[in-house]
Symmetry: C2
Subunit: 370 residues, 2 copies
Amino acid sequence: MNIGILGAGQLGRMLALAGYPLGNRFTFLDTTGNPSVGIGEVIVDPENTQLETFLDQVDLVTYEFEHLPVELVREIEARKPVYPSSRAIAVCQNRVEEKTLFERLGIPTPAYRVVESAEQLKAAALELGCPVVAKSVTEGYDGKGQAVLKTPEQAEQAWAEIKHSKLIVEAFVDFVREVSMIAVRGRDGDVVFYPMAENVHVDGILRYSLAPLPDLDEGVQQTADSYILSLLDELDYVGVLALELFQTPDGGLLANEMAPRVHNSGHWTQNGAVTSQFENHLRAIQGLPLGQTAALAPTCMVNVIGREGDSADILALPDAHLHRYDKSERLGRKLAHINLVAPTHGELLEKVRRCAALLPEASAPRFSFE
Amino acid sequence: MNIGILGAGQLGRMLALAGYPLGNRFTFLDTTGNPSVGIGEVIVDPENTQLETFLDQVDLVTYEFEHLPVELVREIEARKPVYPSSRAIAVCQNRVEEKTLFERLGIPTPAYRVVESAEQLKAAALELGCPVVAKSVTEGYDGKGQAVLKTPEQAEQAWAEIKHSKLIVEAFVDFVREVSMIAVRGRDGDVVFYPMAENVHVDGILRYSLAPLPDLDEGVQQTADSYILSLLDELDYVGVLALELFQTPDGGLLANEMAPRVHNSGHWTQNGAVTSQFENHLRAIQGLPLGQTAALAPTCMVNVIGREGDSADILALPDAHLHRYDKSERLGRKLAHINLVAPTHGELLEKVRRCAALLPEASAPRFSFE
């Protein structure tokens, strides 16, 4: 089966690496003019003229990036199966639709307001109580299109900086940790859940994901499972869905946002789980049985951002798994990640610190359970 | 680093899949006109006219197949680093040189004779005591160029069938099991050893490899380690070396043959060891630190030969890892393998039987420790 992927970056690359052993071939449609995937056939199409060529070659279509024109995805859907569907994209690329869906399904979220002017932004900041975070309703990811307001007076400046006609304003959450759920739904409706991961962000970019959590109450995992299950079923979803949440001091969970694709906070599964998120996404969209999601051992994913470390130093760490994306260095760019595996959480944390010291742009994380 | 691979079959394919995450790129030189690797750049060169093009593109060269003209490899060595070296190829592709080296290093082998006529073959069969196995001195693999003589009178027929000017004749060994050692030597001389695997062959083709062995005496593993270490050091070897041995009822080991490359009996390491043989070969030839070789859990590799099973059925087995080679079906052709992992050897054997039942051309194996 030839799988078409919209986008040609590291997520597509890792999907392909997981899919060749299943006998798949891959064709990537890159609309940026700057693909980095490095394997498979890449159709570079910045002028949007080669969709037919792409569709002629593929049996089904998936994507590594949800900020795609919904109309384009609907057009593709009329010709070839697309998983996850355009409906998932429409919801996930619009923060208002996403929040509305969370609410309708009874998934708690931080308090928020939707604003359409600097004045409304200021009023929302007053009402919610600063600090607040303002985010563009569409097109935001990796901390882009966001601003933090420490006082309502910063509304005008934030509005000018974000440059978007509609923003969502969220109250800051007093959280114990940021977590994420990765789950997979097959074409037959079967669902599997990965153990919840703790995520550490710096400047809005994910730096570390660690799973499984040593101090996680089973009830909290079950709550998270039920939240993501209701989303998967509601959207009649096929493939990997990622849901980012905040865990509050009382153990509660508040949904932050979701992504209809394999997700950076699930990269630990490549070396830390029986089946990786990449393989399970491919199994799901092809109608194959889903693989087991159990963790093999405590695992931490360390993102390599901006500048790479020395491969020899990194590979000298025991049970360290390097995943490079074959990209050139650039400030803030995700270049690689390293999965570290250890028999205990204590040894894992020690290894994470040793690894962070080898990366020019990384600082050692502090996890909630330390 | 761009790595050149001589050969473009499934071993090259799996090297590439292990090497992309290290940031490597791959160029394959295929001289058969029938490459199956399916990824990377393949230079199809049945007329041997494109060696320059290949060498211009690569930083170093390795190979997936040792039956290469030694002169060709020496020519390449004069231009780019080649690992393992042409000396390893010269020894491994000639059964007499191989046996001579084993003897010189004190590695026991089955009794054997070298013969150059049907008459000498008959005499050797008489002397060694039938049954004996006759093998062409060069070009034999996967049971090709071999014949079993049940009586000395079959010498003439065997000689005619093998069609080779020089044969090696080996006494049959009363063995408990066939085993293999996979070890890796880095450019700096560092060596790591994988746990010994038990191999089950049918008609000279490997069908199953299982590791680690539940009943292996530690002293036997140490003996095997010492044998392969002496070979690695003697050849100043860089990369993965495979050594096939017979284990006799008294626990002794007799060397059968070796292969200077990643080996089918090491495929279990992809899902059953901390670092796969493929990644460790690439680490070695690039001068990177070698990865840990410890087994994660009891693992069995099941070869898929001739005809494939239904992927959905296979993937429905828990902790089953499918590795397809994207080849068309043909009698006796290696098309894929499946790595099965289980918490205990008992559960593993049960899973192996279930898996074998899903493969049209497989029959369930019997391992020595059952």
